[in-house]
């Protein structure tokens, strides 16, 4: 192991704020430029309105940045918070952290909900939210030591850039005796050369005696982290119990925890078996329903997809408990022991791979035309180690491969590499180039939006076709679901605040398979309720998977099974029992609505947040090319004749493609109208004065912003 030194340059001893009903009511601010460390009380009105987690992150960011702030300006903040319910051992999904920053890809706030112990440990150390601003000259390690009540800054020398080794080294360094007391946040060596950097959040797996990882993947947060010259942020905390949050009603909390965990223990083995296969059960199901992205979202199915689904990974995953939070009964954070990479710096060595999850399998597998489970493991491993987002990497390389196959780019541009679909070695080589800061990988690392501009300007590629097949919206790469046949999910991606990530709304099956929301108004209602409810998890420090991936046995008797109302009731009870703020299920949506609308206004403040930015590449809406149309000709012909009443007799395929496009694009615009109306926004997608007043977010600067955008 390489030698490294950590030179202490700042130490602040503090009196640890006690936790009261899930909150410490204090925030921690670290300015890397001045090396100032401050602890502030959080005002009750901020708590009332923003709840915690993502709500706190956004509030502190809002006050740190101006509308002109770019991702690499020192005032851009990285905020990390759990939430009032975060850190409850045994409650399924009860220990998440939410990270936000201004994204290098989108220029607006990005948020990422991540496992590992960092958020809860930071809270137990005294802080509901951590805000890091500024930029350090030297490489910095920040330590939040709740055991010794000290915040320390260190200048680091000789520490590896490689997240896999770095986290293990720092865990060992800061608590050799009790590594379980440590959680490390770091990025990897590719984050500084790309805009796709992720953060790795760790926990120590006591059974396997090793550091494990979960990623705050989306939007280039790792790139901001690396740019600020942060090597790692480390939280140190000791014992955690059900009393750690000092809940208002301990018995009620214990009761609801028991109910939810008990149900999962009983039903997961009968339902999705996530404790065995994680989210890889989705691979065959998506494939069977023509929703698995294949070859840059061109197709939704492939005969070899079974090679990368649950039936294979069940046997590859290392057996044992895999909760990314203590006692999470879902325990879906699986990994693979003794994997031996066949390329790169770890070639020939045994490593542990944390993952893959569905998104990585689909993004770095089927979407690249590769159906080799071990290749996916290698992509997964190097993305984590190098600090890269597997989703943006998968979707980005898929775009490059289609450009290559279409002849929009050639070997002349790729440094001699054949980047046809299925080329495993060259896909991996792109990652290694991103770490070395060289070659075509550096261009791929800029993300699809910038690639499109470079390919058009420097390589003379056709901008219009790249606009259609480049799967990004707002600058963020799509996550891994095919949306062509689900208008509601097109809305779920196109109108998602941060860009096309499915954590806001996942409506494909309700819409496409079950035709549960036939009208625009039905879809708009779903695109109100689901994003709001899903936002709530991020306010409270929770994982959404236990809500609807394991459901009560009688759930299907409910007229709206997708809402899993029994669990919504449990979440209301859980919130009441910890915070003492009595809420009913109906109160949860308005809580989220305030934060959701505030984030939309934040986009507006940054120069976005209006209708023109809620756009989609046509590949997300319908068939771009003639062969794509031909591959599902019956479906598209039927759509034209039955839904749009078009007489297709004698029409050439190219003409059908064009007519279908006109109709489908118009339909998406109609959906936007319906959704904006339901959300209380203007037809330009801006929250109205009435909406912000109703939600109590009519702060003077919000009203000024609205006025400046013609909303009075």
């Amino acid at each position: 192991m390489a030698e490294f030194t950590l030179k202490e340059i700042k130490s602040l001893e503090y009196v640890r704020p006690e936790i009261e009903k899930g909150y410490t009511d204090h925030s921690l601010h670290v300015d890397l430029s001045s090396k100032e460390v401050k602890i502030n009380a959080i005002e009750p009105k901020v708590k009332e309105k923003f709840i915690g987690g993502k709500g706190y992150d956004l509030w502190f960011m809002w006050n740190s940045v101006s509308g002109k702030t770019k991702w690499n300006d020192p005032e851009n903040a990285i905020c990390i918070a759990s939430g009032p319910l975060g850190g409850t051992p045994g409650y399924p999904g009860g220990g998440k952290s939410i990270v936000t920053t201004i994204s290098p890809l989108t220029g607006i706030p990005i948020d990422s909900n991540v496992g590992g112990y960092f958020g809860p440990y930071t809270k137990f150390s005294g802080f509901d939210v951590l805000q890091i601003t500024g930029k350090s000259d030297a490489q910095i390690v920040v330590l939040i030591d709740g055991i010794d009540s000290k915040i320390k800054l260190y200048e680091a020398e000789g520490l590896t850039d490689d997240s896999y080794t770095l986290s293990a080294q720092l865990t060992d360094y800061f608590d050799k005796e009790k590594p379980v007391n440590i959680s490390v946040v770091s990025t990897g060596s590719a984050a500084k050369h790309t805009e796709l950097g992720c953060l790795n959040f760790t926990w120590f797996d006591a059974k396997r005696k090793r550091v494990r990882y979960k990623q705050a993947g989306r939007g280039g947060i790792g790139t901001v982290f690396a740019h600020k010259n942060i090597k790692a942020v480390v939280a140190r905390w000791g014992s955690v119990s059900m009393k750690s949050n000092n809940p208002a009603d301990f018995d009620a909390m214990k009761n609801v925890t028991k109910l939810h965990a008990g149900e999962i223990n009983e039903l997961d083995p009968k339902q999705n078996r996530m404790a065995l296969v994680g989210t890889t059960h989705l691979v065959p199901i998506m494939n069977d329903h023509d929703c698995l992205p294949v070859n840059n979202f061109k197709y939704g199915q492939h005969p070899e997809a079974h090679n990368i689904g649950e039936a294979v990974y069940e046997h590859i995953f290392d057996k044992g408990f895999d909760g990314c939070w203590r006692g999470c009964a879902v325990a879906c954070a699986h990994g693979v022991k003794d994997f031996v990479p066949f390329t790169g710096p770890y070639k020939g060595q045994k490593v542990f791979v944390d993952g893959p999850e569905y998104e990585t399998v689909a993004g770095c597998g089927s979407n690249l035309g590769v159906f080799d489970p071990f290749f996916i493991l290698e992509m997964n491993f190097y993305c984590d180690t190098y600090g890269l987002d597997t989703i943006s990497i998968g979707t980005g390389i898929a775009f490059v491969m289609e450009c290559f196959e279409m002849g929009l780019i050639t070997k002349e541009h790729t440094g001699g590499m054949d980047l046809s679909f299925g080329n495993r070695l060259n896909a991996l080589e792109l990652l290694h180039q991103m770490v070395r800061g060289e070659g075509f990988g550096m261009i791929v690392g800029k993300g699809i939006r910038k690639m499109k501009a470079i390919f058009a300007k420097d390589f003379g590629a056709d901008a219009a076709i790249m606009q259609d097949i480049g799967m990004e919206s707002k600058g963020l790469e799509f996550s891994e679901y095919m949306t062509k046949e689900s208008l509601a999910q097109q809305g779920g991606y196109g109108m998602a605040l941060k860009g096309p990530q499915h954590d806001e709304a996942w409506l494909i099956f309700l819409d496409m398979v079950h035709n549960f929301m036939p009208t625009f108004e039905n879809k708009a209602e779903a695109l109100h309720w689901f994003p709001m409810f899903r936002t709530w998890f991020g306010l409270c420090g929770l994982c959404k998977l236990p809500w609807n991936d394991i459901v009560p046995e009688d759930n299907r008797q409910n007229p709206e099974p997708a809402k899993v109302v029994k669990h919504v009731g449990w979440y209301a009870d859980f919130f009441s029992s910890i915070t003492g703020r009595k809420v009913s299920p109906d109160d949860l949506i308005p809580m989220s609505e305030a934060v959701y609308n505030f984030q939309r206004l934040f986009n507006l403040k940054m120069g976005y947040g209006t209708r023109e930015f809620d756009t989609l590449p046509y590949r997300a809406v319908g068939p771009v090319t003639v062969d794509e149309y031909l591959s599902r000709i019956e479906r598209y012909d039927k759509d034209l004749t039955e839904n749009y009443k078009v007489d297709i007799t004698g029409m050439e395929i190219a003409q059908k493609v064009a007519v279908l496009r006109k109709h489908r694009e118009a339909r998406y615009e109609q959906l936007k109208d319906a959704v904006y109306k339901r959300r209380g926004w203007t037809s330009n997608g801006i929250p109205t004065v009435e909406t912000v007043k109703r939600l109590g977010i009519d702060f003077p600067d919000v009203m000024e912003l609205l006025k400046a955008n013609g909303v009075e």
Binding site: N272, L282, H289, Y481, F509, F516, V551, R556
Partner: protein, 65 residues
């Protein structure tokens, strides 16, 4: 005899998953079942025949990532 969500049911030669679901209540949101440990998705419900003594679990509404 087959077992569906841990309840015994009569079996007859040639019964498909679709026919089974049609006999049960509130299965309109079923997009996948587990038949003897293997996933079967809705596009194959009409053509997948259930063998005698099969163990079937009706999976909940697919919730995505």
């Amino acid at each position: 005899m087959i077992t569906v969500d841990e309840k015994k049911m009569e079996w007859h030669q040639g019964i498909t998953i679709r026919e089974l679901l049609d006999m049960l209540e509130n299965t309109q949101f079923c997009a996948a079942v587990r038949l003897n440990g293997k996933l079967v998705s809705s596009p194959s419900f009409d053509t997948t025949k259930i063998p005698d003594n099969a163990v079937i679990y009706i999976l909940p509404l697919i919730a995505g990532g």
